[in-house]
Structure formats: C-alpha cells, structure tokens
C-alpha cells in the first residue's frame, strides 16, 4: 500500500469517526434542531468555500459571483423534484450538471479577462442569473420557489461533502491541478511551458460552479424554499470571506473558514448589522495584517503533525 492511499484511508477513517460522533449526538438529541440546522449549513458552506477555493485559490482567478451558481443548483434541483417528480439523487446530479454547464458557458468568454475585470464580470453574471430567475414565473419569480420537500439530511449532505472534498484534494494533486497552480503563480510562464491556460482556467471554473450547484440543490431541499434574495452578491461575499479567512489556496483553510463563519453568523443571527460589520472588519484587518489568511496555502496533513511533534520533541531535548 503506498503512502498516498494510506493517508487517504486514515482521513476516511477520521471522517467516519466524525460522522458517527455527530450523528450519534443528533440521535441522542444532545444536538437540538437549531444546531443540527447549523451543521447542515456548515456542510453546505464547506462545499461552497472549497469549490470557490478551486477557482480563486488554486487557479488564481478572482471570481465573486459564486452565489449565481448556487442559485442555479437550488432552482434546477427543485424543478426536478417538485415539477418533474424525479427522485432526489437525479435532482442532485441535474443541479450539479446545470450549474457546471453554465459555469462552462460563462467561463469560456470571461476567463480571458484578468484580475479586477474578471471580478466585476463574474459579479455582474451572478446578478444577471439572479435577475433572470426573478423574472421567470415558472419558478415562482420574486416570491420564490415554494413547497420544496426536505430531502437533505445531515447524513447525505455530510457524505456528499466528503466525496467532493476528496475529489478536490485529488484534483489539486493531479496533473490538472498542478497546471492550475502554475497558472496562479505566473500565467505567462505557465503558457510558455506549454500549459493550455484557457483550458485549465475553464476546467477549474466549471468544476467550481458544478459543486456550487450541488450545494444549491442541498440548500433548497433543506430550507423548503429557494428565494432569489438568498443568492445576492452578499452571499457571494460570505463565501469569499470564508475562503480568504482560511487562506486562498488551502482546503483546510476553506473548511476552517466555513466552520468559523457559520458559527459566528449563527451567534449573531439576531443582529444582522453586527454580523456584516464583523465580517467586513475581519476582512479588512486580515488583509492589512495577514493577507495570506489563517493557513496561507498550507494544508493540515499527517506531515504537519509529524513536523509539529518533532519541533516539540526538539525543544524538550534542548532543555
């Protein structure tokens, strides 16, 4: 058994353990409905943050319209279960494919832009998606898509999240992922080395959009409703804050960012103004003091633990 597979199995074991603990706590009703809701929300936010991290962190393309893809997933999924009466797994796949396809269509022309311009274009596209949904009466228009059954549970969202996280992790370590990292570091140099930069940028963007779509399906099937107001620029900013707080380019960072910020917003739910003030001040101070985020681009791994124990051990020997 090679080292990579061993580490993966270890991680999977840890996931099973985490799942068993939390599901057990839910079954024993130690975790009430409010925190169960927040745990589902954490899983959704982790999917969103790590998928945005693929685009912004690994490939270095600054997208701030992620809520648009979330919306597409939420609505397409709802159409499949409510209007067409198809089973939930089909809806999940359909929402994922729809958002991914849209990401592909949007990414192809816009990813030629760079930096600030791309940011504004994605922001604009996110808003266009929302405005279009707002004007389609078939999905409820401005009053939202109502009557969606609750099919998302902690169990299915948790395992979907794990599958997506493993996918993203393997993507980063694959040849495609390395090409994306090269584009982030220096696009012109990557191009000269023979990397098809457009292809990889669009690939990362499409995959990121597709996973946001998955999160969207899970989202609308937990909260009974898909409403255009849940998918504004504010939502994109939420996801961006998670990624940036954790550290652009670090999956561990995105996960941590999603957990921390979901908890903060759960605690500040009664004071929406304070919540956004805390978010924005966090963002500004972070950029001024530690622009690389909490983790930088490092990952939490077995090596990190080994390094840590060695360091601690070294201190002891020194004494």
């Amino acid at each position: 058994m090679n080292k990579q597979r061993k580490n993966d199995l270890l991680a999977l074991g840890a996931c099973v353990l985490i799942y068993a603990i939390f599901e057990g706590l839910i079954q024993l009703e130690v975790i009430g409905p409010f925190w169960e809701l927040n745990m589902v929300l954490i899983c959704i936010n982790i999917i969103l943050a790590s998928s945005l991290n693929m685009i912004n962190g690994y490939t270095g393309q600054f997208s701030i319209g992620h809520a648009g893809f979330l919306a597409v997933g939420a609505y397409v999924g709802a159409i499949f279960t409510v209007k067409l009466g198809l089973p939930f797994p089909v809806a999940i796949i359909a929402g994922t494919i729809a958002a991914g396809f849209l990401g592909f269509l949007i990414g192809l022309p816009t990813l030629r832009l760079n930096g600030d311009y791309l940011a504004i274009a994605t922001l604009g596209l996110g808003e266009i998606i929302r405005i279009c949904i707002l004007n389609i009466d078939y999905v409820g228009g401005a009053s939202g898509f109502m009557g969606i059954p609750r099919l998302t549970s902690f169990t299915n969202i948790f395992w979907i999240m794990i599958v997506i996280l493993f996918f993203i992790k393997n993507f980063k370590n694959s040849a495609h992922g390395r090409a994306c990292l090269a584009i982030r570091e220096n696009e012109i140099a990557a191009d000269t080395m023979g990397i098809d930069t457009t292809k990889y940028k669009v690939m990362a963007f499409t995959l990121g959009a597709a996973f946001a779509g998955t999160a969207g399906v899970m989202f609308s099937h937990y909260f009974y409703i898909a409403h255009p107001a849940s998918f504004t620029f504010m939502r994109s900013f939420d996801i961006l804050t998670m990624v940036v707080l954790g550290g652009l380019g670090s999956m561990t960072g995105s996960i941590t960012g999603a957990i921390v910020l979901t908890f903060i917003s759960a605690y500040l739910a009664e004071f929406p103004e304070w919540r956004m003030i805390v978010y924005s001040v966090t963002m500004i101070v972070l950029m001024l003091r530690r622009p690389q985020g909490l983790f930088g681009s490092a990952e939490l791994s077995a090596e990190m633990f080994k390094g840590l124990t060695k360091r601690i051990g070294g201190v002891k020997i020194g004494k």
Partner: protein, 298 residues
C-alpha cells in the same frame, strides 16, 4: 402603438435617461479618477455616495440648510470620509497584491453600509423636498424641474472638475501621478497628498450625486449605494477606465440605455441590461469606448 407615440415615448425616455445618466456620470468620475491614480476598483465608492445622501439629509433636516448648503456640506463630509478611508484601509496596502486590495475595498463597502444601518436604521428615510417640483410640458413631453436641476448641477460639477484636472497645479500633479507615480515622486510631487486629494475630489462628486438623487427620489436608505455604485463602475469601464471624459460619456450612455430598456421592455431587466453591457464591453473592447490599446510588456 403608432409611430408618433413611439417617437414621443422614445424622446421622453431619453430625457429620463439623461438625468439618471448624469448621476451615474458623477459617481463614475470618482471611480475613474481613483482607478487612474492607484489602479484600485474602489468598491466602497457607491457607499460614499450613500454617505453623501445621508449627510445631505442631516444638513437639510436637522441643520436647516438649503440646497447649496446641503450639497456643500455633503461634499466636504464625504471628501473627508474618502481621505480617511484611503489613509486607513488603502494606503498600507499600496504594494500588496491586487486581489488583497480588492478584498479590502469590498470590506470597506460592507462596513460603510452596515455601520450606516446600525446608526440610521435600515428603514428608508424621506428626503425633505427642498425644491418645489414643477412639471413643464413641452408639447407631449414632460420635464421635471428636478431633472433640470440634476442635469445643471452635474454639468457644473463636471466643468469644475475638468478645470481642476487640466488647469491647476494640483490637477497637473494628479495627472503626473497617474501617468507614473515613481517619476512624479522624483519630480518633487507629494504622491500621498495627491492621492488623498483624488479621493477627496472623487468622494465629493459622489456625495453630490447622492444629494441630487435624494432630492429626485425623496427617499434614501443604507443600501442605496450598491446598485448605482456598480452601475457607475460599468459606466467608467464603458467609457474607458481612467479617462475622465470617458466616465461622463459612459454614464450618460448607460443612463439612456437603462431608461430605454425600462421604457420599452421591462423595468425588471434594467439592471441585467447594464451588466450585459459591461460583459460585452469587457469582451470586445476592454479598454472602453475612449480607451487606447496598450500592449502589456513582459
């Protein structure tokens, strides 16, 4: 609809569009000046416009100022706010990666919006009617006195800005810094001061726009800056970001397009139309209508 009424509606929407567009132009000028000088998309610019509207509201409601008093009060206040924001949030980041500065700017934008919400409550406030709204009928067309006020004020401010930028020493310094900040510094120009001045001027123009909109729509709220801020950015890109006449032209074009879309198609698609313009212009002529092509050297 016959041709006559179609033409009539077209001209009517042009009039509405030009008055809306001159507001966009006022805000776009600040965007373009700030981008020209430090290459930053100041996301918080739309919120400066909102702060300006609230300052105008305070000046008229609590301090009893008239139109000119209110607009000057708002411009000075917002100018100071612009200087403070630049000093606190943007100056320490001048050599940081572009994305970090962009995130900071988004942060400042949300900070202004929600701090205002905390102070002034999220409910919209009624802006006092300083001017009696007179409606003029030019044949079948309707022109509002407030529309004329907006247009005239915007024109005066734009002429004043053009004069400052082109004829004064401070304006020359601004142009020099935006051309090459290092060389300007070697020539003895105080770059920090010039950047502060640019922020002050841009913010003051946005604040004037805010007060004018307050008078026009009679209502202000803490999130009012979001959409116009983005629209003004689109206007700046449309005209060619960093180019002052471009921002004016872009603002007017955008205003007219929006008015036509809401008049002939549906007002709900108004915002989508401007974003579509943005994306088209970015794809086909990213330097904007008045921009020149600059080749990037490696």
């Amino acid at each position: 609809m016959d041709m006559g009424s179609l033409l009539h509606q077209f001209i009517q929407q042009m009039i509405n569009g030009i008055s809306l567009g001159s507001i966009y132009a006022l805000i776009a000028l600040g965007y373009t000046m700030i981008y020209g000088i430090i290459k930053l998309i100041n996301f918080a610019h739309g919120d400066i416009y909102m702060v300006g509207a609230y300052l105008g509201f305070i000046a008229t409601t609590y301090l009893g100022f008239g139109f000119f008093g209110a607009i000057i009060f708002a411009m000075v206040g917002a100018g100071l706010a612009g200087i403070i924001i630049e000093r606190v949030a943007y100056r320490p980041m001048r050599n940081a990666p572009r994305i970090a500065i962009l995130i900071t700017a988004i942060g400042v934008s949300f900070f202004l919006e929600y701090t205002m919400m905390l102070i002034a409550s999220p409910q919209p406030r009624t802006f006092p009617a300083i001017f009696e709204a007179t409606v003029y009928h030019l044949g079948p067309l309707v022109v509002n006195s407030q529309q004329i006020l907006i247009l005239v004020s915007a024109l005066v401010l734009m002429v004043a800005l053009t004069y400052i930028v082109n004829k004064t020493k401070a304006g020359m310094a601004m142009r020099a810094v935006s051309f090459d900040a290092d060389a300007a510094q070697l020539m003895g120009i105080n770059v920090d001061k010039t950047i502060s001045l640019t922020f002050a001027l841009g913010s003051a123009l946005a604040a004037a726009g805010g007060v004018l909109v307050g008078i026009y729509y009679n209502s202000i709220d803490p999130l009012m800056g979001m959409m116009p801020g983005m629209k003004a950015f689109i206007a700046a890109v449309l005209g060619g970001i960093g180019i002052i006449p471009g921002a004016m032209a872009g603002g007017l074009i955008l205003g007219v397009v929006e008015a036509l879309v809401s008049g002939f198609i549906s007002s709900t698609f108004r915002d989508a139309a401007s974003f579509a313009i943005l994306i088209l212009i970015l794809l086909y002529k990213p330097t904007g209508l008045l921009g020149k092509n600059v080749r990037e050297k490696v």
